[in-house]
Amino acid sequence: MRRKTFAITAIALLGLVVPASAGAKTIIGSGSVAMQPVLQALFAQYTKQTHGKVKFVYTANGGNAGVKDVQNGTSQFAGNARTPLPSDAGTTYIKMFLDGLCIDVNPKNKLGNITIQQVHDIYRGLITNWNQVPGSGLETTIDPVGRDTNGGTYNFFLQAVLNNELPSSNVNALTSDGLVANAVKQDPNAIGYDGLAWQGKGQKALKVNGVPCQSSKISVEPLKYPLSRYLFLVVPNSGVSPALQKFIDWARTSPEAAPTILKAGGVPAFNKKAKK
C-alpha cells in the first residue's frame, strides 16, 4: 500500500518536472513596471517565433527591486528605467529601447504645453494653483501625483525634472504607473507623470517645452523630447545564458522586434530597418 502511494507520488512529481526540462526554456526576470508592457509584447512575440521553446516569467516589482533580484540571483535579468547607481554593483546595464516620460493632465484641463521649469515648480510645491499656469483654464488647486520611491520612473523624474530635490509633501506618491494614470483620469485637477506605454484614454499628454510626447519625437541623438530616456535590461556580470543573450540581441537589433516595441509604447533605438 505504502509502496503504491510512493510510486504514484514519484510519477506525479516526474510529470511536473519533465515537460519543463524537455520542452521549453523558462527565463525568469523582474523589475520595472514602466517597461512591462513592451517587455511582455516582446516576450510573447519571441515565444511565438521560437515555437514555444523559450518562455518568460516577468514580475513587475519595480526597477530597484529587480536589480536586487539580479544581484542575489533570483532573476536572470531585470528591467530598469533609470541609469546605473553605485548600489548596482555586479550588474551590467544594456540599453534596450527608448521611452518618453509624459506629463499628463485630465482632459478637462485646457493646457497644451508645459515647461520643465513649471513641472519642477509644481512638484516642489512652489506653484499650487492652476491659475498660476497660463492656459489651463482652471482656477483650482493642483493635485500633483507621482510615484513612490520604488522604481526607476521616480528616479528618472527626480534627476530630469527636480534636479535631485525631493518632491514636495503635497505630491501624492502612488505605488504604480497604472495608479498614477488612474488618478489623473479621475481627478480634473491632477497632474501626473508616466511612460509612453501608459498613454491612452482618460489622460492627456502635454507638450514639454513645445515638443509633444510622441514616439516619433523621441530619438537617441539629439534627444528631441526633453524627457526621453533609455530603458535598460540589467544582467549579472557573471554572465548570461545563451538563450537570454539570443533574446536580448533579437529584441535590440532585429527588424521584426521594432514594430512590436513601437506598438506596445516604446521607441526602438538600435533595431535595423526592415529590408524592403
Partner: protein, 332 residues
C-alpha cells in the same frame, strides 16, 4: 503467566508516534516564531539604540528623515544616519485603526444582534455565510474599490475648493485621505467582528433568555441586558482580533490613505478627515526598495518591531479581559 501485548518485531511505542510527530511540529512552529521575533528586533536594534524614546516622538518630516537615512547608507558605515521620529506614522495608525474599530464595533454589534435575535430564519441563513465570506475577501480588492470609487468620490464631491486652497503646497486634498482609509477599513473588519459577535450571542444559554422573557421583560431589553452582556467575552475577542488586523493592514491603506507622512490635526476642524496620512504598515510597503541601505533597513525593521509588539500587546490584553469576564457566562 505473561501476556504478549505487542508482536515481538513491531515498533515499541506505536501509540506515541502521532503525539511525537505533532509535538515536534508544534515545537518547530514555536521556534520559528521566536526566531522571527529575534530577527526583527535584532535588525531593528540600531534604530532604537540611536534614537531612544525620541523614536516615538514628534519632530521633523518622516519622509525626509527616511530619505536621509537611505542616502547615508550608500556611503561608508561611519556616516550612517539613524535620526527618525515616527510620531506622524504612529498618530496616523492610531487615528485610522481607532476610527475604523469604533465604527465597526457599533455597526457589527447591531448587525450581530439583529442576525441572531430578530432576523427571520431564512434571512439569517442567507446572511451568516455572506458575512463569513466578506470577512475573508483579500484586502487588495477593497483597495481597488477604494481607488476606483471612494477616493475619486471624496476628492471630487466632498472636498471643496476653499478647503483645498487653504492647505495648498503643504498637502493635497485629492481624496486620498483619512476618511477613505477609515471607511474601507471599517468595511474590511466589520464582517470579522460580526461573525465573532454573533457566535458569542448565539451561545448564550437559552434558559437565561427564556427566564428573562418569562419575567415579563421585553425582547429588546432581554437581548441588550442578558444576551449582549453575557456575550461580552466574545465582543472583546472580536474587537481585539479586528484591531490586530486593522493595525497590520498595509496594501489597502497604501492604496487609499495618501502617501505622505502627515499627522492630521483634529484642531483643523472637519477638514482633518480629508487630510492624507500614512500609518506604520504602509510605510514599510512604500519604502520596501530602500532595504538595500543598512540604516534604512534597520529603520523599516524598527517599524515592523513596533507593529509586532502592538499586535502582541493586543492579544495579551484581549486574553486578560476575556479571562476576567468569562466567569459571567458564555465564552468566545
Amino acid at each position: 503467566m505473561e501476556v504478549e501485548y505487542l508482536p515481538e518485531d513491531g515498533p515499541r511505542v506505536p501509540d506515541q508516534r502521532a503525539e511525537r510527530l505533532l509535538g515536534a511540529l508544534v515545537c518547530t512552529v514555536v521556534a520559528l516564531l521566536l526566531a522571527l521575533i529575534a530577527t526583527v528586533f535584532f535588525r531593528a536594534w540600531p534604530s532604537f539604540a540611536h534614537n531612544g524614546l525620541a523614536w516615538f516622538g514628534a519632530g521633523g518630516n518622516v519622509d525626509e528623515q527616511i530619505n536621509q537615512i537611505y542616502l547615508s547608507g550608500l556611503g561608508g558605515s561611519e556616516g550612517y544616519v539613524y535620526t527618525f521620529h515616527a510620531w506622524q506614522l504612529l498618530w496616523s495608525t492610531f487615528l485610522i485603526t481607532g476610527g475604523a474599530v469604533l465604527l465597526a464595533l457599533f455597526s457589527s454589534l447591531f448587525v450581530a444582534v439583529f442576525l441572531v435575535e430578530f432576523a427571520p430564519e431564512w434571512m439569517s441563513n442567507v446572511l451568516a455565510p455572506v458575512v463569513r465570506f466578506l470577512a475573508s475577501v483579500p484586502s487588495v480588492i477593497y483597495g481597488l474599490l477604494g481607488v476606483l470609487v471612494i477616493v475619486p468620490f471624496i476628492g471630487n464631491h466632498l472636498v471643496t475648493e476653499p478647503q483645498k486652497a487653504s492647505v495648498a503646497g503643504v498637502i493635497s486634498l485629492s481624496g486620498y485621505s483619512l476618511l477613505a482609509g477609515v471607511l474601507i477599513l471599517t468595511v474590511m473588519i466589520a464582517p470579522l467582528m460580526t461573525s465573532i459577535f454573533s457566535d458569542g450571542i448565539r451561545s448564550v444559554r437559552p434558559g437565561w433568555l427564556e427566564g428573562s422573557l418569562a419575567l415579563g421583560v421585553n425582547r429588546w431589553r432581554t437581548t441588550w441586558k442578558i444576551a449582549v452582556r453575557t456575550a461580552r467575552p466574545a465582543i472583546v475577542a472580536g474587537t481585539v482580533l479586528a484591531t490586530a488586523r486593522a493595525i497590520g493592514e498595509a496594501v489597502m491603506l497604501a492604496m487609499v490613505s495618501g502617501s505622505v507622512a502627515f499627522a492630521p490635526n483634529p484642531a483643523d476642524g472637519l477638514i482633518f478627515i480629508f487630510e492624507p496620512s500614512r500609518p506604520l504598515a504602509p510605510t514599510i510597503v512604500k519604502n520596501i526598495d530602500l532595504l538595500g541601505s543598512k540604516p534604512a533597513n534597520s529603520t523599516l525593521f524598527a517599524i515592523a518591531a513596533v507593529l509586532l509588539l502592538s499586535a502582541a500587546t493586543f492579544s495579551l490584553a484581549g486574553w486578560a479581559a476575556r479571562r476576567s469576564m468569562s466567569k459571567y457566562g458564555a465564552t468566545a
